[in-house]
Structure formats: C-alpha cells, structure tokens
C-alpha cells in the first residue's frame, strides 16, 4: 500500500507542470496599462 501511494504521488507530480519564464528585473504596466 505504501508503494502504491508513492506511485500515485509521482504520477501527480508529472501531470502538473508549471513553466516559469523570466525573473524580477524591472517592472512595467504592460500589459495592464490603464493610461
């Protein structure tokens, strides 16, 4: 049972994949410019 649960967790981790691109260098109102 313990192994089975671990396998499920691994599958879950593989299924969700956020991709972060860039970093905090400057700031701009683009694309949320109100002017």
């Amino acid at each position: 049972m313990n192994r089975f649960l671990k396998a499920l967790l691994l599958l879950s981790a593989a299924a969700f994949a956020d991709v972060e691109i860039g970093f905090d260098q400057g700031a701009s109102s683009t694309p949320f410019c109100g002017g």
């Binding site: 991709v19 860039g22 905090d24 949320f32 410019c33």
Partner: protein, 161 residues
C-alpha cells in the same frame, strides 16, 4: 516565449503574472482578449499578425470587462484561460493581449525582464503594427504536462491490434 525556455509540451490553463510594488492593486479593462499561437521568429516584426504561424492564432480568453482587484504586491496573480492552449513543445509561443480602454485609467505594474532583443511588441492605441521592446513579463505558464489526445488514440489502436 522561446521553445528552449518552455522546454516541454504543455497544456496551458493559466497565465500567472507577478505584481510589482508600484501602480495600483486594481484596475479594469474593456474588451480584454488574449490570443495564443506559434511563431518561427526569435525577434518579432512590427506587424503584429505577421508574426503568427498562419492559422495558429487562437482566442483563449475574452472579457467585455476584465477586472483585477486586491492584488498583493510581489505576489503572483492568475488569469485563468477560457480555452486551454496546447503547446506542442516545438516552435516559439506567442502571447497576444489587446484591450480597448481602461475606464478608470489605473495601471497595474508587473515584474519583467530584459531579453536584450525585440521579443515583444506594444502599440497604443492599438494598430496593426507596434514598437519593438526588449522587456517581457516575468510569467508562469500554468498547466499540465500531457500528450495530445490523438497520440493516446493512436497508442490505443496499436494495442487493439
């Protein structure tokens, strides 16, 4: 976004932006639309639509009024797409955002980074062409790392034989 940066096939469900500690924590935008598609270019050309691989421009988010509110400084906020976009892992990804006006005239600032080349275009008022910019928002493509459904269908067929 370059394919080398994305590095995987991904079904994009959400776009996440990181609010910078300036501007406002809220605003609203009229006729706000987000399109996604593919481009073969690493540096964009001024004519917006010329950058798309023909036929790839896809509307993924649309609001007659898009309201942002209560955005914490330094925190990520999410635009949940109406239509998830399947990025196949090959080719550069275009994210194309347009809106007609902001009734209250307030700006929300987000963190960005300098790509050193013209990887974004901006036009105000919106026209068919824009000015190249080196700065691209710091973003998260929120999604699931899965295969195209027809790939599964083909595998099932092979097993059936």
């Amino acid at each position: 976004m370059l394919d080398s940066e994305i590095g995987t096939a991904i079904t994009i469900n959400d776009l996440l932006w990181k609010r910078a500690p300036m501007g406002m924590d809220h605003s609203s935008y009229t006729d706000f639309k987000i399109y996604m598609g593919y481009t073969t270019r690493d540096i964009l050309e001024p004519e917006f639509d010329s950058n798309y691989v023909p036929g790839s421009k896809t509307l993924v988010f649309s609001r007659s009024t898009y309201t942002l509110s209560g955005l914490a400084s330094g925190a990520w906020f999410t635009t949940a797409l109406d239509t998830p976009f399947f990025y196949n892992g090959s080719g550069n990804l275009l994210i194309d955002i347009e809106w007609t006006s902001s009734p209250d005239g307030l700006s929300v600032y987000v963190f960005n980074w300098n790509t050193d080349v013209g990887r974004s275009m901006f036009s105000s008022p919106a026209g068919s062409t824009g000015d190249p910019e080196n700065f691209v928002p710091h973003m998260i493509l929120g999604g699931t790392n899965d295969l195209e459904s027809k790939t599964f269908a083909r595998i099932k067929t092979m097993f059936a034989k």
